[in-house]
């Protein structure tokens, strides 16, 4: 079965981030999106207290006082700013960010998100800013593989992992498809694989709505 690589997923997400957007890219795979923004002026926020974040510094130019939420070295673009944590989370919780892009363990058909804790016995929980991001941005994009390594769908009727936020996801980008969360269910907008809608629905194990350009509702 054909599927997108993580870089291709990042390219696809980046296409939906318009000029002028204020964006937070979650730790891990979502940070790849930054590499594909092109020459659009998109302003990146990181919750530890920086906005207008630039790319990684050149080797030897790292500054221990200039990091992102993933504790990676970053740079500041002209026009960027620093602020304390309460201001930073006001930007998030207060709905000032246009988009955030997050990874996920599971997303439910209602847009519930589980991405912070497996709930496994002995696992040490750590939440960071995940719950604030989930409920804060105007649009919450999730970027994840469609299936687990065991082949189980990560799009589920009800999350079995502990929730990060309820009914908070706007759109899901997977290696197989792009889906919009709506009150009536999940709209499949694009399929990236060589499978059809029926097969995608079968793999997902939940009812989907065919809204792709080639499919039913979108035609």
């Amino acid at each position: 079965m054909k599927r997108l690589t993580r870089v291709e997923m990042a390219q696809r997400v980046a296409r939906d981030i318009p000029e002028g957007a204020y964006v937070n890219l979650g730790i891990g795979v979502p940070t790849l999106v930054a590499n594909h923004i092109g020459d659009r002026e998109v302003i990146l926020h990181s919750e530890n207290g920086v906005i207008g974040m630039g790319p990684a510094p050149a080797p030897g130019e790292e500054d221990g006082d200039l990091i992102n939420a993933g504790k990676q070295f970053v740079t500041l673009l002209p026009g960027g700013a620093y602020f304390h944590h309460a201001d930073s989370f006001a930007m998030m919780r207060g709905g000032h960010l246009d988009y955030c892009v997050l990874g996920a363990f599971q997303v439910s058909v209602r847009g519930d998100l589980a991405n912070w804790h497996t709930g496994a016995a002995g696992a040490i929980p750590a939440v960071g800013g995940a719950m604030d991001l989930a409920i804060g941005a105007k649009k919450v994009f999730v970027m994840m593989e469609h299936l687990t390594k065991q082949g189980e769908s990560k799009i589920v009727q009800q999350c079995s992992y502990p929730l990060t936020g309820m009914n908070c996801v706007s759109r899901i980008y997977t290696d197989l498809a792009m889906l919009d969360v709506a009150a009536e269910g999940l709209h499949v907008r694009e399929i990236y694989s060589d499978i059809g809608f029926e097969e995608l629905q079968e793999l997902s194990g939940v009812p989907l709505i065919d809204s792709s350009a080639q499919g039913g509702a979108g035609r």
């Binding site: 944590h85 939440v127 960071g128 800013g129 719950m131 604030d132 309820m166």
Partner: protein
């Protein structure tokens, strides 16, 4: 004449008592007041409750305080990291209590304490494990969780520059929790890279006005910071 500068690290932390609640600034290593933490380890206070974003990295700073078994409880948002082995081991052995707080709620609880707010309703965490047992309320069609302020006996923070009144400016993302923790502790102790004469800090650029600061210690030695 007001002079909040303290001649030594040991004098700055001398009165931190056993059982004290201590906020420690920093996000990972950025902004962590390592020299003050080392002085606290040396000083020997035990049974501490620590408020920090993390639970220590590697074997230095906050991790060293944990390793010295001085911490009874930690209130933080992100304890588990690739290099949080000191905390991980204590937690697995049941030798440290953890209160996990979403990062924005942690920041706002600290801000609320410093601003004299008795509590607040936040949408963060609603419907999750971290809101279990907490009061919830629907306001204008949105669900919120009630959170209480978080105060401390002491705050240990790091800034770039201070004057003798305790006015502070920070450096880049090392600012993180410093300005809010400074407001929320009875005694705020700051380690700085530079102490400058009164009037030298641009008043338009002062981030923490000195009213929130009780003690300033100059740490001139780069290795010690």
């Amino acid at each position: 004449m007001i002079d909040k500068t303290i001649p030594s690290l040991s004098a700055a932390v001398a009165d931190i008592h056993d059982g004290a609640t201590v906020m420690i600034g920093g996000f990972g290593a950025a902004g962590m007041p390592s020299a003050l933490i080392d002085a606290l380890i040396e000083q020997g206070a035990r049974e501490l409750t620590i408020i920090n974003n993390n639970a220590g990295n590697g074997d230095t700073g906050l991790a060293a305080l944990l390793k010295a078994r001085r911490v009874r409880k930690i209130i933080c948002s992100f304890p588990r990291q690739t290099d949080s082995h000191v905390f991980d081991e204590l937690y697995r052995r049941g030798e440290i209590e953890l209160e996990l707080v979403p990062q924005g709620n942690l920041a706002e609880r600290i801000r609320a304490a410093g601003a004299g707010i008795g509590g607040f309703y936040t949408p963060t965490g609603y419907g999750t494990l971290l809101a279990e047992g907490k009061e919830c309320r629907e306001i204008n069609g949105r669900h919120y969780v009630f959170e209480l302020p978080l105060r401390a006996d002491f705050a240990l923070i790091k800034a770039l520059k201070a004057d003798r009144w305790g006015n502070l400016v920070y450096r880049k993302t090392a600012r993180n929790f410093g300005p809010i923790m400074a407001t929320a502790a009875k005694t705020t102790i700051v380690q700085v890279d530079h102490v400058v004469p009164i009037g030298e800090l641009d008043p338009e650029a002062v981030v923490t006005p000195g009213i929130f600061v009780q003690r300033v210690v100059l740490v001139a030695d780069k290795e010690q910071r």
